[in-house]
Structures are given as C-alpha cells and as structure tokens.
C-alpha cells in the first residue's frame, strides 16, 4: 500500500508524502431500496486528471453529489487535504475548494459573463461599476487562462463558451478540485480539445480534476488515472496508460462482450413488402423547406439507419413518420393505407413507436410522476381506461412492468420523472415505445446520454424487434453505430435524401461525402 502510494506521487511528479487533494474512504449512500454507493475509496492527487467511469446508474453522480455537499453520505469519510469533512451544503464544498460544473449549466442567461462570474460570490465588491466588473472578469480570465468575453450576454454564447464561463466561475472561487460531469457531451470536437488543454493547464498548477464520462476514447486521451464504478461500488482504479478502451469497457460493464458484440452484424432476416412508403414528401414550416421530395420504402424486418449532421431534417422526418407533422405535400402510406393526415394518436395505435430526440420536451412530462410518464402510450386502452374511467392502480402496475424490463430502479413511482437520471429516463421512454411498436419503431438518437453497456443493450433490443419483423428507423450522428446495426443507411442533407446504401456495401468515406451534400449518383 505504502509503496503504491509513493509510486502514484512519483509518477505524478509530486514530492513524496504529498497528501491527496481528495480522499474518499468507505463512502456509502443508500436510498430506499437502492444502494447508490457502497464502500467507495478514491484518492485524487494534485496534478492529476482523474476520470470517473461507469454505466448509467453506477453511482457516479451520487458520489460527486456527496463530495460537493448536495447529498449526505450514510457511512465513510471525505478527507480534503488531510482534514475529514462533512459538507452539508454546496457552499461548504465551495469554501473547501471543490467546484463542480454540471451537465446543465447554472448560468443566468440574460446576464453578462461578468455578472454571472460575480453573482453570489462573497468577494464581489458591494458597489461596483459595470466597467470594473468587466475588468475584474478579464483579469480573472487572464490569470486562469480561460478566454471569455466579459461583456457578452450569456444567451448569445455558444455552448462551449458558456461552459468556459461556468468553469471560470468555479475556478474564480479558488477551486483546487474541479469536477466536470460529462463536459464534452455538449461540445464540438474542437471545443473539447480546447477544454482538454485548459484542464491540463489547470492541473499543472497543482490542482486536480475529476472527469466524469462514459466516452472511453476521451477518458483514454485526457486522464492520468481512471476509477471505474459499477453498481455503486468501486471496481478498480488504474493508470490510464495501462488500459485500453476494451479493458475499460469490460471493467465498466462487468462482461467481456461489449465492444466485440456491437461489431457483430446480422444479415436482415426476412424481406417482405414495404410497410411504410414515403412518396415525394415535402414539409415547409416557418423555418423554410425542411423536407424536400423525400421518397423511400421501409421494409418490415429491417433497420434503416439515417445518417447526417443534426439539423438536416432528421427531426422533421421523424415527425412526419410518427404523425406529429402533416407534410405539406406528398403521400405517406402504412401497409398500403394512406396515413398522410392520420395524426400522432392514430399512428401510435397503428403500431408506430417513437423515441423522440428531446425526451424532456416531448417524450415526457418531467414534473409528473414516473407512473404518469410510463403510461403515456397505453393510458387510453384497457386495462388502464375502461369506458372513460382511468385506473391509477392499473397505471401503477404498468409502470412497474415497464421499469422492470427497462432495468430502471425506481425507489418511488410517485416521484417526479425529472428526478431520474437522463439515462434512466431514456431507458423508460425506449421501453415504453418498444411496447407499442408492433410495426415500426422510430428511434431518434436513442443512445444519447447512455453508456456503452446501455447502448449495447438497447441495440440488442432493436435487433430483436427487427428479427420479429418490426421495421426500425435509427437516427444517429454516430456513423459507427449506424454501420454496426443498420441494414441500409440513408443519408440526409438539407432536408433531402442524398442516397440509400445497403450497409454491407457502405463505406464511411462515401457516407461522409454524402453527409456533406454529395448525391449518391455523383459519387465516383
């Protein structure tokens, strides 16, 4: 043990005996019926970027909520620079030099960057002019090496810039330990690289970073060490350079399969007549023409992948196929029946499930109970509704059933759905939709917010559905995902389909060109 400690400090270039900035010893947290964390030990030393890896529900967020004083642990110790601490509020944690940047930014959008930095900060002078506020912000940004525009209104900034403001706000409060919750989920690759540079500079000054992620390549790229959690317990802490993506995925999921299994391709089982036919579908909204003359057939028992950079009409296409939008022109037929104007309810009743891309805005009512959300698709039919009478008991039973197959632990079904983690919300919605998808399942970015293991499980379900003869439309930005799971890939650009390629003939290069606006027939 002693030898190992010495080697950690040596490898990080620290003086022997340097205490960790943060040490967790036997930290445990229980919720009714759920072990969130049990007996977790982690040391984070100055100068290191420590990745925290785990599946959805592995206890990463709970653990960090304990460290930042949002939750109180039931057992164990949190030791900050050699002193045992027991935070009861985030303010205590901030005073102790621990700052966290959440996935959803906590900025006042209507305020300027300078105002956001100084908001709720004891060191902000009581009376200060706008000019001085901006000058102070500028100086802070210079010192900490984070370029921000002090006078800019936050709402006008890009997500990457907003994140920088959020980080600056935390660092300005003298944070020595910066915790980032899936920071790159909202960033472009370029912004992510800038973030990594800033983080490396930050730890080089003797600070530390805990980097929560489930993107294995990022963990490999940015971290010094990595701790893997599974089922609320620590599985291992390893030096990142001794790991591979495969070994990390194994640790995380506890099964050996993951990455190999996702690579497995299954040939389409039964080819039948087209179940859904789009012919010359166009849609014009106040945004202009968002879909332009889209025609294709969807066959039962196939997975049709839809590739393209987000915002090229994918969302509108799912809306048309699920009956949420009526196309301005063109005809949509389901099993030979014209359903162009059928509407969302009829389409759902006809066996079309839809996992929407923005589940919090359309897939769920976050303030309502988990039960209310789980029954959104089946509330109108027996046993939930008989002759107009709704059965709360029937709803509770159905919700339990869905949560069980979705493998989501729910302590209390009356709890608002917003209290579930994003991954668990996604699983519930996916399961709810798969239940009604007798003919077609439209899945828009289903893997967003899920980790490798959960994505794999979900894709396996899609394949099962496909093998039962359901047509699956899979919309994704991850080309690899599409190449692995779909039978055909359609590429969208500016509201049009550039071409549809059988996956076995597909070539990433070609798809990339089509995503950029080259038509299939123009490819050489």
């Amino acid at each position: 043990m002693a030898r190992q400690t010495a080697s950690i400090q040596q490898r990080l270039g620290l003086a022997p005996g340097t205490p960790p900035i943060l040490a967790l010893k036997g930290v445990s947290k229980y919720f009714p019926g759920v072990i969130a964390n049990e007996d977790v030990d982690i040391d984070v030393y100055p100068g290191e970027i420590h990745a925290l890896l785990g599946e959805n529900g592995a206890g990463k967020s709970t653990l960090m909520n304990i460290v930042t004083g949002i939750y109180k642990m039931d057992a164990g110790e949190v030791i900050i620079e050699g002193h045992a601490r027991d935070f009861s509020s985030p303010t205590d944690a901030i005073e102790a030099g621990i700052g966290m940047v959440h996935q959803h930014f906590k900025l006042v959008r209507a305020f300027t960057v300078a105002e956001n930095i100084h908001l709720g900060w004891p060191q902000t002078p009581k009376r200060i002019s706008k000019r001085h506020l901006e000058a102070r912000t500028h100086a802070l940004a210079q010192n900490l090496g984070l370029a921000v525009k002090p006078e800019a209104i936050v709402a006008n900034l890009s997500t990457g810039e907003q994140q920088r403001v959020e980080i600056l706000r935390v660092l300005a409060r003298d944070a020595k330990l910066l915790i980032l919750d899936e920071p790159t989920a909202v960033l472009t690759p370029k912004e992510a690289r800038e973030l990594f540079t800033a983080l490396r500079a930050f730890v080089a000054r003797g600070n530390a970073v805990i980097f929560i992620s489930h993107k294995l390549d990022e963990v490999m790229e940015v971290s010094n060490r990595v701790t893997v959690l599974r089922g609320g317990k620590k599985v291992a802490t390893e030096w990142t350079d001794t790991c591979t993506e495969n070994s990390l995925a194994q640790l995380m999921v506890g099964r050996e399969i993951v990455l190999t299994e996702t690579q497995k391709k299954t040939a389409p089982s039964i080819k039948t007549a087209p179940i859904l036919n789009l012919s010359d579908i166009s849609l014009t909204t106040d945004q202009g023409t968002v879909l332009n003359n889209i025609s294709f057939d969807l066959a039962a028992g196939e997975i049709l992948g839809i590739a393209g950079i987000a915002g090229n009409g994918q969302r509108e296409l799912t809306y048309v196929m699920s009956g949420l939008s009526t196309p301005s022109s063109g005809i949509l037929t389901l099993d030979g029946e014209d359903v162009t104007k059928a509407g969302a309810r009829t389409m759902a009743q006809m066996g079309i499930g839809h996992i929407p891309e923005d589940r919090l805005h359309s897939g769920m009512a976050p303030t309502l109970s988990i039960t209310d959300n789980a029954v959104l698709r089946e509330y109108a039919q027996p046993p939930l509704t008989r002759k107009g009478w709704f059965s709360p008991k029937g709803a509770a039973n159905l919700a339990r059933e869905i949560a069980k197959v979705a493998d989501v632990m729910v302590p209390d079904f009356n709890m608002p759905a917003r209290n579930l983690s994003g991954g668990n919300q996604q699983r519930l919605v996916a399961r709810r939709e798969m239940r009604i998808a007798e003919k077609i399942l439209i899945a828009a970015y289903p893997s967003r917010g899920l980790d490798v293991g959960a994505i794999n499980t979900m894709m396996r379900y899609f394949i099962e559905l496909r093998d039962q003869g359901v047509a699956v439309v899979l919309i994704s930005e991850e080309l690899e995902e599409l190449m692995n799971f779909s039978d055909r890939i359609a590429v969208m650009f500016h509201g049009e389909i550039m071409g549809i390629i059988p996956t076995k003939d597909a070539d990433v290069e070609q798809i990339g060109l089509m995503m950029g606006g080259t038509r299939q027939e123009d490819l050489t």
């Binding site: 109180k72 002193h83 045992a84 601490r85 027991d86 009861s88 509020s89 009956g323 949420l324 509407g343 969302a344 309810r345 009829t346 389409m347 759902a348 839809h354 929407p356 805005h361 359309s362 897939g363 769920m364 009512a365 976050p366 303030t367 309502l368 209310d372 029954v375 959104l376 698709r377 509330y379 109108a380 509704t385 107009g388 009478w389 709704f390 059965s391 709360p392 709803a395 709890m415 608002p416 209290n419």
Partner: protein, 351 residues
C-alpha cells in the same frame, strides 16, 4: 458538540408539507396577534369573539356556510384552470357575468321555479364560460397570456353589473337603491338561511377530484398541463383540452355567481362578487389546485372573512383580514420551500 444543519431534499413529503402549511397559518395568526396587541387591542379577546360569533351560534355557522360557497366555486374555477397550466385571474368577472346572466333569466323569463332555477344555473354557467371565451381563444390560437386578458375582463363585468343594477334593471318599485328588484325565484334553503349552493359546491369538488384521478380525460389534462409537448407527442388534442378546461373554469365561477344572486343575496347588485374571485386564486394556490384541498382552504378563508366581519363590528377595518390573508400566503410560500429541507445532526469532528 452537535451541529444542526439543513439539507435540501428533491421532494417534500406530504406530511411535512402539511405540517408546514399548518405552521404557516398559525404563524400568520400569531403575527397578527402581535400587531393587534401593539396597537392596544387584546388579541385573545378578539380571537375569542371571532370564534364565539362564528362557531358559537347557528347564525354564525350559517353565515360561514354562505361565505364558504362562493369561495369554493371561485377556488375550483381557478384550480381547474391551473390543472392545464392556465391562470384564470378572471373568476371575479366570470362570477359577475354569470350572476348577470342568471338574473336576466329570472327577471325576464316566466315559468315555474323548477324550470327557471335550472335555466338560471345554465345561464350562469354559460355566462361564465362566455366571459372567459375571448381570453381562451386568444391563448389557444395566438398564445396571448390569459393572465392579463382574464384580469382585464373583470373590470368590464364588474362595471356592467354596477350599470345594470343602477340603470336599466334598477328596482322599479323604488324600494331599493342600486340593485335590481328581488328575484321572483330563489334557490331553496336547506338549513336556516343556507341554500343548496354550498352543498352543490361540495359535490362539484368531489366530482372534479374524481375526474382528475379516475378519468382518462383527467389524465390527459394532467399531461397537457405539465408539458403540452408531451401531450402533442402522445396525440392528445391539446388545444381542444385547453379550450374545454378554460371554459369549464369560467362556467364554475359563473355558477358561483348564479348561486350568489339566486341564493344568498336575492338581487343583483354592484360588487356582488365581493372579491371572491380574487380570494379564489388564493384558495386554489393554497390547495395546490387539488379540488378536495379547495374545500379545506375555502373553509379556512371563510372563517377568516367571517372573522373580518366580526372585527369590523369591533371597530377594526377589513384591511386587518386582508393583511392576515396576505401573511398566510407569504408564510405558506416560505413553508413550502422549507418543507424541502431536512434537519441534520452532525457530529462536529475535525472541523
């Protein structure tokens, strides 16, 4: 040494939330008591007077029931609209216009009581619904905030009632000033001067509670109120629901107006709504838009208002009661937030 600290929980347990509600009411009364004793009055004596004159005699209880009735109608009206995410600030106006329409039927349609009374109730409900129609359509089709439009419609309805009661419909016998003549029909009484109004209100609250929990429509309204996007996604007719619920909200307030004019007052007069529509907002908010909760908070507000009448007879102004209600709302808001906190006992070691 033990340190006591607070921790915020994501949801407040119902029991704790209820305890904080009770505490906030008591605290408001206590604050009022301090203010009264500072101004040289005996809060204990005044309190005893309020309680004895409210609960001590059948007259007091009858008055209480008659105050309770319009508060339930207005409270339910606001609560129903809140269910679909609309703020009906216009219960006051719908109450007035419902009373106006019901009076019109009573004054100008002849027939047996058993025909005229249901007709008046219908007229009251249609009147109330009509009075919220424009704000409803504006909200549904042009996304205009109903908060402002319903409020503005109040002034029109209130002044309309003043005008007809002092002008065209003024009692021709000259016996009464600024009111219509006594209506030829009235809601039958059940007990003393208490008519069917309060009882119908209670039934209505129960029916609405069942509707919310045990009907398919209730579920749809819940979803549409919480997230219209999700309701559209599930194929629910969100606009139709919004329109239906807002019209229902207006109709309930209008029925309250009919009961008031045909049961309690017997004539249409200016100011018949007596701010019930505004107090109804408080009733609904305190009840968290739950229909059964509305019965409890309306009862409580009725006790307060009745207390106000008693206090007036003791030389205090009605503003005392308005201050108490304001304090309750303030404390309840603080209490709702505090109910989210858990007290922690921490051992102070190493700190």
């Amino acid at each position: 040494m033990n340190l006591i600290r607070l921790q915020r929980m994501p949801i407040a347990t119902p029991r704790v939330a209820f305890a904080f509600r009770v505490a906030s009411v008591l605290l408001a009364l206590f604050t009022t008591a301090i203010a009264l004793s500072i101004s040289g009055r005996s809060p204990v004596a005044l309190g005893a007077k309020v309680i004895s004159s409210t609960f001590g005699s059948s007259f007091g209880l009858e008055d209480l029931a008659l105050l309770f009735s319009p508060l339930v109608y207005c409270g339910l009206s606001v609560a129903v609209a809140l269910r679909i995410g609309a703020w009906n600030i216009g219960a006051e106006g719908q109450f007035n216009f419902g009373a106006f329409c019901a009076t019109g039927v009573a004054l100008f349609v002849q027939g047996p009581t058993w025909v005229i009374l249901p007709l008046m109730a219908l007229a009251g409900m249609i009147g109330g619904a009509l009075w919220i129609l424009i704000p409803t359509l504006a909200r549904a089709y042009a996304d205009v905030s109903e908060l402002i439009t319903t409020l503005l419609m109040n002034f029109v309805a209130i002044l309309l009632v003043y005008w007809v009661a002092t002008g065209p419909w003024l009692d021709p016998s000259g016996m009464a000033l600024a009111t219509t003549s006594r209506l030829p029909v009235s809601v039958p009484t059940l007990w003393g001067i208490v008519h069917w109004g309060p009882l119908v209100a209670i039934f209505l609250a129960i029916a609405l509670a069942l509707f919310v929990t045990y009907t398919r429509w209730g579920y749809e309204v819940r979803i549409a109120g919480a997230n219209p996007g999700a309701a559209r996604y599930a194929g629910m007719p969100v606009k139709t629901q919004l329109i239906g619920i807002m019209l229902l909200s207006g109709a309930i307030a209008g029925l309250g107006g009919m009961m008031e004019v045909a049961g309690t007052v017997g004539r249409l007069q200016g100011g018949i709504s007596n701010n019930y529509g505004y107090i109804g907002i408080m009733v609904a908010v305190l009840a968290r838009a739950a229909p059964i909760g509305v019965l409890a908070t309306a009862f409580f507000m009725a006790v307060l208002l009745n207390g106000g009448i008693v206090l007036q007879s003791q030389g205090l102004t009605t503003h005392t009661v308005l201050a108490v209600t304001g304090l309750i709302l303030l404390y309840a808001a603080i209490g709702d937030e505090m109910a989210h906190y858990k007290i922690l006992h921490t051992k102070a070691k190493d700190i």
